[in-house]
Assembly symmetry: C2
Homo-oligomer: 347 residues x 2
């Protein structure tokens, strides 16, 4: 059985196809009695409208795209989940595309020419690939970036205030008495990594502490960077009493190194991460971290795309979502001044 079309419904309900179209699209000028007849016919025939024909005529697919190139960890999962949630609420659908390997712009061209999307959202790091953005602009597809590195003036992007978050987290450590705090950065060019680092430096400055470049290491957002970074930092002549890793996975690496050394956490070394995803909740001890509202970021991006798709206006103000500090058990008071600590313990 071939599926029922608008024509079958029209015949069955004794009206014209246009009237059926009006009912299906919820247009105003239809008498209640007619609408009822049509709805019944639709139900009886199991009619479902054909998206191809609809799209061909209206040039709107109601399908959005999610474009990413870093399929690791909770981030893509949660962005996707948030995006899907909002899509479902709005009657939109989501097509996912991964850009990996060589010649990202060519991949973007291929996927854009094979589909018809009403808009695309991009996450780091691909959201900072200028060539890919140029392709999108060329195809005249609206897009929204999440946590872009260098937002353009007037661009409507979605992010959290990573700088402030970094500063807050560093502050937590400072208030626990830590004075030498190691910092492990994420991959270069990643906006979040840079901003969290700036926040870290800002916190130090506000506490009147000198900045020691030996305490800052590069990283790749992976476990090995944390593990190796911890080894390197703790081998310093004057090692830190706390380590701030730029994400949870690196923090997990720091924790594992400490466990392997038999070094108590947070007794001898405090550790904090960033993201607040699954990893922070399955390691021991529970990580002190900063929870990003990743799902909300995804939701907001989709909401924004739909707005643009309907209104056509691409300008707008950036949307900065709130983060949340999560206090785990991986951070504690600094024991770095044995005399002071001894006094307190003695009395």
């Amino acid at each position: 059985m071939s599926p029922a079309t608008i024509l079958d419904v029209a015949g069955s309900a004794g009206v014209s196809i246009k009237t059926v179209s009006r009912v299906v699209n919820g247009e105003a000028r239809v008498a209640d009695s007619t609408r009822e007849k049509v709805l019944q016919a639709i139900k009886a025939l199991g009619y479902q409208r054909n998206m191809f024909a609809r799209g061909l005529r209206a040039d709107k697919s109601r399908v959005l795209g999610l474009l990413y190139d870093n399929p690791k960890g909770d981030y893509p999962t949660d962005v996707l989940l948030g995006a899907l949630t909002h899509c479902r609420e709005s009657g939109y659908h989501l097509q996912v595309e991964v850009l990996r390997g060589r010649d990202l712009p060519a991949q973007a061209i291929k996927f854009l020419s094979e589909t018809r999307l009403d808009g695309v959202m991009l996450t780091p790091p691909v959201c900072d690939n200028m060539e890919v953005l140029a392709v999108l602009a060329d195809y005249d597809i609206p897009y929204v970036r999440v946590s872009p590195n260098k937002p353009r003036p007037g661009e409507c992007y979605i992010a959290i205030d990573d700088r402030q978050a970094g500063e807050h987290l560093a502050n937590c450590l400072l208030e626990l008495g830590h004075r030498r705090i190691g910092f492990i950065r994420g991959i270069p060019g990643h906006a979040a990594s840079r901003l969290r680092y700036e926040g870290y430096r800002g916190a130090l400055a506000r506490h009147g502490l000198a900045y020691d470049p030996d305490l800052v290491l590069p990283g790749k957002f992976d476990f090995a960077s944390g593990f190796g970074g911890a080894a390197q930092l703790m081998a310093l002549p004057d090692p830190p009493t706390a380590i701030f890793a730029c994400n949870d996975e690196m923090a997990a690496g720091v924790l594992s190194w400490a466990h392997e050394q038999g070094m108590p956490v947070p007794g001898t070394l405090s550790v904090c991460g960033f993201d607040g995803g699954t990893i922070s909740r399955v390691v021991w001890p529970l990580l002190t971290t900063c929870r990003q509202p990743i799902r909300e970021l995804g939701k907001a991006a989709i909401r924004r795309l739909i707005e643009v798709s309907i209104s056509g206006k691409r300008e707008g103000t950036p949307l900065i979502l709130p983060f949340e500090l999560v206090t785990g058990h991986s951070t504690g008071k600094c024991n770095c001044f044995p005399d002071t600590a001894g006094q307190t313990a003695g009395t």
Copy 2:
């Protein structure tokens, strides 16, 4: 500027639209010189074919669906990644849909009526929802299930041999000398959980060991199940010396409980998980686990869907992919016979 159509290309190249269509679709009967002319015109005009029109005429969208309802952890991410990889190689695209909350069949109906997919892949647990499957059958959409609970005869599904994997893993523990092995199950109705459990019992039986129901606990595949399960198991009068958790996240819970008690792992308690994803690599000590080829599962499912979509034949043989045992540092020799252990240590 409105985008160029096949008509513009035809005009520019001095041929008919049908010829352009032939070139675009790589059909055979076109003279090389003509093909060249058309290709140049396409390039010059920046022509890209309109998927709506194509779909309307050919009734093929070249878009597949991924349907899931358990958006936790690496599983969905990796399935998605594998699926996308194969999609890209094959010129297909992937639309993702999450079914969550109440009335899953209704959600399935909604999403199927709003899109036009050539096929759908499903992962657990939604792949075992008979109502949803009925909806898919009703819409006459080919589907492939990954790790289904009760495969139907002749159904072509994708899975690993969970029973055998469970048996292997239990065997590892038995060969290390463990005789009392705790087992924490996953959510009921989940095929993998049941099969791994059967494998565990099989291994016990093969070693001539009695089955002790006290050693088997229910679980929900989450951290808390592992944490609580460990507490409960180790409070037994005759506690286990090893715990086999049905996935990595629960194993991480077991580890954390042990750390909190100051119980050495694997010194006093050996732990193994299942999945071999990120979690197994970021906890301390590294988990002994069974790595599922999740990406390959996703790839295989898509490959299969494309076959079905092209050939129209829905029958086929199930595809069982190989798993891989990963030996971490969370398992070690059993110290449960102090006399023997003492003797060895003494000499």
